[in-house]
Symmetry: C7
Subunit: 94 residues, 7 copies
């Protein structure tokens, strides 16, 4: 398995359809397009200048919306993943 | 429902009319145009370098003015929302 | 009424004349031009990385000089306001 | 009177001559030219991320050398002033 | 041996094949390509503004994915290494 | 006399010769050229975000090497000085 | 002797050969080329925003690899040195 470092998160990409499973329709505008995915692994958190580790807010299994242009793609055992920083995640679909 | 992360806020966009419900008329100038919206969800706050979580100042249900070019658009169950950082909110219409 | 967020301030713009009420004449040079206005509302302050809220130095009712290119214009109940950060205010005319 | 905000200082500009009153001759080189002025008002200081207010080092009445391209010009009751940040002041002529 | 400084890590580069030993297939897209390597040495950590030393999260012997364009190449006793900052490591292949 | 502010230092410029008094020969390369000078005054130090004043490391009377393109020139009572930040001083010639 | 300031280090440059004394062969690629040198003097450390002085990790006499384009060249008593920040040192050859 892949274990992300620091404040990074691994996302299993949800392919864009006209209407996604959770009911989100992504508008086709000139603005930055968000994309939907499922969190499969989270890092142990970022360390502040105070030396404290701050745990991530997202959890494994959650469906999230993230900024389309964020992160790095990687394939692992046949599936496509995205590794991005928690800061690039906009919202949890709860 | 959508749950914004950190210092993010979800806004239900109020369509621009010549004069909005709350009486704000938005000037058509060369400067950055503010826009009006209603807060439908707020994140749990930002974490300072001191490791403290700072709660947001805006609350669900408040009408706010925000910077027009800020945030990311998303449609959810037929309604259009904007996800932006609290820092892009200029004022509360109280 | 409009309530500015964080370290923001709402200014009622004082129209530029050759000589303003408080006696300030603004030079017509190549440099950044300051402008005069009256504070009508102040935010609750900025939060430092230490987690402390720092109150603003300017107060409602004060006349201030601010940087001309700062802030966002908004009209509310027929009057023109400017929402800017306290940091863009140069001095209080006392 | 004008009261500068934060770490700002108000300077009464001393017109450049070939040799100034305090004996400083400013070289005409390609480098950034310093200029001489008299401090007429100082702000209450800057607030650090620790939440502490740090008082300014310069005081009213002192003659200072500052960076020529710094600050904002303003005329008040017929005199020309410059509002700049203490950080743009290079040295006190003592 | 080479001992990296601060938050730096020394990586033994794993040559790219169509499918790597650990099963990762790296997609050939327009996005930033991650690369696989083995950690052979880690620095003693970074020092925060609080004066605390923060140990690295990766350990000697671990296989990691890192950003392709990061770091500095060096050859030592016939082997090619990469010296990069821990921040350029995306995930541990565990 | 001139009293530098904060972390600034006043340097009396030592004219470049092929070999300086202290034996330093400055190479004529494409890289940034260091220059030699004598410290004639030091500021009271910089204030950290913690609110502490940090005294300068260089002292009056020391000969230093500094980055050639740093600082602001000023003439005072016939001598040429350079006002620069301690950070632009590379080393003390001891 | 030269005494570097803050987090600076003085390096005696080791001339590049095809294979250096310590066995490092530096590849001739398009990436940033590291270079080998010997530490001859270290500064007293950097001061964090917390007001603490952090001692350097490298010590006099150590052989180090540093980024080729870092630092400032200086000749002193016939030898060529490089003054750079510890942050530009990649690893110690131990």
């Amino acid at each position: 398995m892949l274990k992300p470092l620091g404040d990074r998160v691994i996302i299993e990409v949800v392919e864009q359809e006209e209407k996604t499973a959770s009911g989100i329709v992504l508008p086709d505008s000139a603005k930055e397009k968000p994309q939907e995915g499922k969190v499969v692994a989270v890092g142990s958190g970022r360390v502040t200048e105070n030396g404290e580790k701050v745990a991530l807010e997202v959890k494994e299994g959650e469906t999230v919306i993230y900024s389309k242009f964020a992160g790095t793609e990687v394939k692992y055992e046949g599936k496509e993943y995205l590794i991005l920083r928690e800061n690039d995640i906009l919202a949890i679909v709860g």
